[in-house]
Amino acid sequence: MIVAERKPFDEIKNMVSGYKKVLTVGCGTCVAVCLAGGSKEVETLNAELNLAFGKDKIEFGAETVERQCDMEFLEELDSKVDEYDALVSMACGAGIQFLAERFPNKPVFPAVNTSFIGVNLDVGWYEEKCRACGTCVLGLTGGICPVTMCAKSLFNGPCGGTNQKSCEIDKEQPCAWYKIHERLAGQGRLDQIIEISPPNDWSNQKPRKIIQPGYEERVKALGR
């Protein structure tokens, strides 16, 4: 799924100030699952904006559709947006753009920062898994993404910095190519590791993690 984090409140507030009637649109799929832009986040954001602006200055409406990345679901908004002079979207970048495309006459503002494609480790806790590089090599790498996990995104690794299972940038960061080696060896397909993939010219970081605000304690309590 796509993982997003809500934008700092002041940033959202500045974007909508000056409008009279604003519709906040949530998305019921990825961003709801990662607790950043579902129905609850829409209501909460509107309440916060109401408190910040005072109840009467700007009127905030709320709608949450199943997915903002499906035109059929955006269609449900057709009859509703006319009365608003701006839209706030809590979907990922793809959803926001689709919403803007559907209603080209309305200013559309993002309320979340789209962060990564990742997996759910526990409630409110996510880990990046894929950089959507467009040239998926998972078939050669035993199902472990070197673009995401390797600090240099090496398609053909490891580099000289591989250090006893860890990456040279950080002891806590596993070496992607060590893991790939172990996985392939375990499946008896180690010969594939020498197949050359054309290199990608990317500079990269190690996988990012998000713990949604309010869930830090829970993650700590789980001791993980």
Binding site: P8, S39, N50, G214, R218, A221
Partner: protein, 512 residues
Amino acid sequence: MMAETTNTIDVTINKDVLVIGCGTQGLEAAEAVAAKGYKVVLVDDADLPAPAANAIEVMANTKVESLAGLAGDFRTCLANGSGRSERTFGAVVVAPRYGLAPLNEAYGLALNDKVVTMTQMEALLDDGAFKETLVQGEGKSIAFLSGFGQEGDPAATSRVLEAALTVQQAGNSRAYVYANNVKVGARGLERLFTQGRNEGVVCFKPLEKPAIEQGDTLKIVINDPVVREDVELEPDYIVVEEAVVAGPENLAFAEILRIDTDLDGFIPSNNVHRFPANSNREGIFVASQPADAANVALRVAELLDNGVRTVAKNAAVVDENKCTICLTCYRCCPHGAIFWENGIAAISPVACQGCGICASECPMDAIQIGDFTDEALTADIQEAVASVSGTPSIVAFCCQNSALEAGEAAKAFDAELPQGFRMVQVPCAGKVDVEFIMKAFVEGADGVMVAACHEGNCKAERGNTFAKWRVEEIQKRLETIGLSKDRLIFTTIASNMAEEFSMKVRMFAEQL
């Protein structure tokens, strides 16, 4: 399988019972449950003695590999040498395994052939050759240490008294017991103690832990509170007590069954709102004490009865059009009452306790709780704020298991409460949603209070914790908006603390 009446439904449930882990407790529980007329399957990963009751099916050397489903319909996979089998049960009883850890270090002693553990001494006393040395020549003197390395209990006391009596009865040897508290609060223990005394067992009750020298010989010095003098003894053997520790199997059981352990790894976790033999999941019971067998049988019969349960229809209901199966509710339900089916979350009316944690955590607002629907609570909040004229207006979300009763009592005793104070009843503080708190502020409340059960005392295990996290999170948000975070507080209270409650409310009002 479900027949509807007005507000309740009858649910047909499985009546077989799985008992995991044998030992005395497991065996007794299995027999007690079988005696109530239920079919029992007893599994253990080791060999099993044959139980007396023949209604019990015994599966030795068998592991419970997985457990899915809910009370009345637990689906398990049992594995042993002859393969795997899928079995369904209405209830599960687990008899946890314990280990023993010697407490010699508490007395500054190293274990050797003269300083031995209780378990080692019991083995020696079973050994004919050793017993012979107790009779030969001058015999032996054996000192037992009990209750200084840990708070003693009847089970530990009973082992000491039994062993001391055996030594004394050998004829030519003497047993000395150094006890902190002699805990005889179990059947037959008082008699055992008296019998020992009559046979010549010497019992000291020093006020402080005995000072012991461990060299070529052993020496114990105490100040005897009765004769008020130092008493010295050079025993041939010192026997140190042992602490009961949770076996690693406990954690494995807990994980497979999705039940909580306490901090030391014991199951079940403690909860004052629960009967001792109950775990945090409906339908999973724990037999860890001798007295538990009867209790377990009682609870099992209460749950399974004749195989039909009448339950509230609307305890917690999922709106199938809203649920996105994000699994948040499944992960947050403290009673393991949620699963998923046909693309949406489903809540078992048998296992659900109506706490509302799931409803508050659901990002799609897809769950409604019986008498506490979002609509009803929103109306309560509006009503609470609207009914106040003057300031400050305070909306207090009160858990009906604690704070609500404290508040009602405070009113009944005419305790002084601020004019603008209003309570909103919730089934558990875990039902207090971020949205509700924000709603109260938007409606115009000056202050919002979330009042929960004390830590470790929540009927829903974690409802108070969830509420506390949410409050902390909203406080941060209030500050970002530019409002004072002190307009929102979280507090814990017990139902009998009316005076404290009214004081907390008054202090909050002053600070507003």
